[in-house]
């Protein structure tokens, strides 16, 4: 079996066994949900309902606002309580629509399956936009926008990202096991719009049962290839997937379509299918709740559900709660408030207790070059860090700091625990500020 791979990368313990065996479970909704207007990359949406209005599951409650924006839908039935300033999982407080849930009326989405049949690409893109679909692998980039690459870019390869390389997370894995047919239908819809020469479904080798499952159902789609990738972080990064599948690099500062590729996540493909064939907007998603909780789980949750509610649903914390992380351990964001809500890009919630929390003492760089060996973007983290320490941002830029995708591989291996990623974020910010 030939495993596809990329240059560099690290091998953290994958810890998928914690939640990997837990089937996706629909939770009963919380009493209150908070839907931040800012759910995605781009402009936040604009509320279109009034305080005290009754809302239904899937009802549009905020509209898109500008070019790079999508609408927002209620994830529950209940009463709109108004806009509040509420903690946001990406940091700080942001405006959120507060909805008091009516558990009686909050039901599963019901609708007849429709044929894609006569829909034009334009229709599909419109549905995808109106359904509020964004990339569900974490980045939350509006999908309708991505589906319209510049006409001069020929897309040869459609790559569906089922790598799920972040340790602990198992949402995409469970989807591939449980919803394989629907995912493939979603992929087929994206394929119709993008019209690539080849379709790849990229899965890491630690999920062979998902590979088998996808192979089984994809036999009716002769143009689909399942590509098995080496279990290595960050295999699921767009640029690394393109490198692994196409043996070609995305030009510096460019996007996958500059290399003739289009990458979309498994969960997004499913959302596209449900939107197009069931008119179901994106108002719920699968979230892995894992780490130091009693019952690590994969929950299907209404967007806006507070994290602490889900932690309790997963049996509560084992030991002393130290960290609540939005996302996985490599790129996730540690939260100040455990009551932050799930947003469209929340792939998982990782809980660390006192025993698991990592706190290394920062030491001097001993020039071991481990960071250079693992950087998937072929950067020299130690050297870039040195130029940042001396505030030499021009040098940092010349050395490629803007290409850093903040995957955390370098900081993960650094024996002196130097906060390299934090430094690079800071430098990127400074460079962008200076450009303005």
């Amino acid at each position: 079996m030939r495993l596809l791979t990329f240059k560099g990368g690290v091998h953290p313990e994958d810890k998928k066994e914690l939640a990997g065996f837990a089937p996706i479970e629909r939770i009963k909704p919380p009493e209150i949900v908070y839907l931040p207007l800012s759910q995605h990359t781009g402009v936040p949406s604009k509320p279109i309902i009034e305080k005290k209005d009754e809302v239904e599951v899937g009802m549009k409650i905020a509209e898109s606002n500008g070019k790079l924006s999508v609408p927002l839908h209620s994830s529950v039935a209940g009463v709109y309580m108004g806009l509040v300033n509420y903690p946001h999982p990406l940091g700080g407080r942001k405006l959120a629509m507060k909805i008091k849930v009516d558990p009686e009326r909050t039901e599963e989405w019901k609708s007849e399956e429709k044929e894609v049949g006569t829909l034009s690409n334009k229709d599909i893109i419109k549905i995808v936009k109106e359904s509020g679909i964004v990339g569900m692998g974490g980045a939350a980039f509006p999908t309708f926008f991505k589906m319209q690459p510049p006409p001069d870019k020929k897309i040869a390869d459609l790559i569906i990202n089922g790598a799920e390389c972040e340790p602990y997370l198992t949402a995409d894995y469970r989807l591939m096991i449980e919803r394989a047919e629907d995912i493939l239908k979603g992929i087929d819809i994206i394929r119709r719009v993008i019209n690539p020469d080849r379709v790849w479904i990229a899965i890491e080798s630690n999920k062979m049962d998902a590979v088998e499952r996808m192979k089984e159902v994809s036999s009716s789609y002769p143009s689909f290839n399942i590509s098995i990738h080496k279990t290595k972080y960050p295999q699921g990064s767009e640029k690394q997937l393109v490198q692994a599948v196409k043996r070609q690099e995305v030009p510096e500062g460019g996007l996958p379509f500059d290399a003739g590729a289009y990458v979309q996540n498994i969960g997004t493909a499913l959302a596209v299918y449900e939107a197009v064939c069931y008119s179901k907007p994106l108002y719920e998603r699968v979230v892995t709740v894992t780490g130091s909780v009693r019952d690590p789980s994969n929950f299907l949750v209404p967007i806006g559900t507070p994290f602490d509610y889900l932690i309790e649903e997963a049996g509560g914390v084992i030991g002393t709660l130290m960290k609540v992380i939005n996302g996985g351990p490599m790129m996730g964001i540690a939260q100040v408030y455990p009551e932050v809500p799930v947003i469209k890009g929340t792939t998982g919630i990782l809980i660390q207790n006192r025993e698991e929390v990592f706190s290394g003492i920062v030491g001097p760089c001993i020039r071991c070059a481990a960071c250079i060996d693992v950087c998937p973007m072929c950067l020299m983290p130690t050297e870039i860090n040195k130029s940042i320490e001396t505030e030499n941002f021009d040098k940092a830029e010349e050395m490629g700091v803007l290409s850093c995708m903040e995957c955390g591989g370098c900081a993960y291996v650094c024996p002196s625990n130097i906060p390299l990623v934090q430094q690079f974020k800071y430098a990127k910010n400074e460079i962008m500020k200076r450009r303005k």
């Binding site: 340790p167 640029k239 130290m322 960290k323 001097p364 020039r367 481990a370 973007m377 024996p415 974020k425």
Partner: protein, 326 residues
């Protein structure tokens, strides 16, 4: 209160002290061998050297109000390596002075671990050679029952390393003896005169293989350095400029110690793969040049120290950034 450190929230098992103590461990076989060949005085000198290194580092960090990190392992490495670079009949203060210089001037004054340009132990040795040349180079004890004893007596030189013997007395009989299989075997196993740590290539190799396996040192540097000494001295041998064969060269005078443990020092060697190959090859060439035409017979220390100076330059050999046009 929730903890708020930035991602990543997990860390590899790599940690700096583990690396440093790994290197210490890798030096143990050679140390044990040295005690076997030269006697207990080896331990005495090594202990003095390590103590001196630790005390110097502790005092410096104390006086300058820095964090006390003298037990991170790096000072111990310097202490052992410095002791490995002195003759066994050195007076007790030689390792003390050498380690003091290595830690104080070469390491701490430059900013401490990670910021020093020169390998502290090597620079310490260079300091000792420059200050007390007769103690450092003309003062060799043959190992207990060693191979060279007969030869040296024959020559009227009572104390010599194979390499000094060659430069002091390049007679046909000596050369023939040096090129012999017995001699090479003795060099490999460790049965010859020399500094504490440079006698047994075999025991050094065992330690180095551990370092390579753990990735605490890059084999590329060792292979390129030692390979380059072998290649260039081999060329000179074939041209008739050098009288002893290349195997003798790589097994004697600290090429193994230098190539395996000094040149591979992370702090003072290049961080890129390309840089490391160049570092090793150029270092080996310099060593051969020094040996053939220079004043000192060993050449290893100076070749590596000079290459240390070029590291900032070699570090500019940045690999091509992903997606950047060629």
């Amino acid at each position: 209160m929730l903890q708020l450190s930035p991602a990543p929230h997990i860390s590899s098992s790599k940690n700096m002290e583990k690396i440093m103590y790994g290197v210490v461990l890798a030096l143990v076989p050679a140390l044990v061998g040295s005690v076997y060949f030269f006697g207990w005085r080896v331990l005495f000198l090594t202990a003095l050297s390590v103590l001196s290194a630790l005390i110097t580092e502790w005092t410096f960090q104390r006086v300058t109000h820095r964090e006390i990190r003298c037990f991170d392992g790096s000072a111990i490495i310097t202490g052992i390596l410095l002791a490995f670079n002195i003759p066994v009949n050195s007076p007790w203060w030689i390792p003390v002075a050498g380690s003091f210089f290595a830690i104080f001037v070469v390491k701490q004054v430059f900013g401490g671990l990670g910021y020093n340009i020169f390998n502290p132990a090597l620079a310490g040795r260079a300091f000792l050679v420059a200050s007390w040349p007769s103690l450092m180079t003309g003062n060799w004890t043959p190992p207990i029952g060693g191979t060279l004893s007969g030869l040296s007596n024959l020559d009227g030189i009572t104390q010599a390393t194979p390499l000094t013997l060659l430069s002091l007395s390049p007679r046909a009989s000596v050369i023939h003896a040096l090129n012999s299989g017995t001699m090479l075997k003795a060099l490999f196993v460790g049965n010859t005169g020399g500094c504490l740590g440079e006698t047994s290539a075999l025991l050094l190799l065992i330690g180095a293989l551990f370092l390579f396996a753990m990735r605490y040192a890059d084999w590329r540097i060792s292979v390129s350095y030692i390979g380059s000494v072998f290649a260039f001295s081999g060329i000179l041998y074939l041209l008739g400029i050098n009288t002893v064969n290349p195997t003798f060269h790589i097994l004697s005078g600290g090429v193994m110690l230098g190539g395996l443990f000094m040149a591979t020092d992370m702090v003072t060697s290049p961080v890129t793969l390309k840089g490391r190959w160049i570092f090793g090859i150029a270092g080996g060439l310099l060593c051969v040049l020094f040996r053939t035409w220079g004043g000192y017979p060993e050449g290893v220390s100076y070749s590596i120290l000079i290459m240390n100076m070029f590291v900032p330059l070699l570090d500019r050999l940045q690999p091509r950034v992903y997606g950047r046009s060629k």
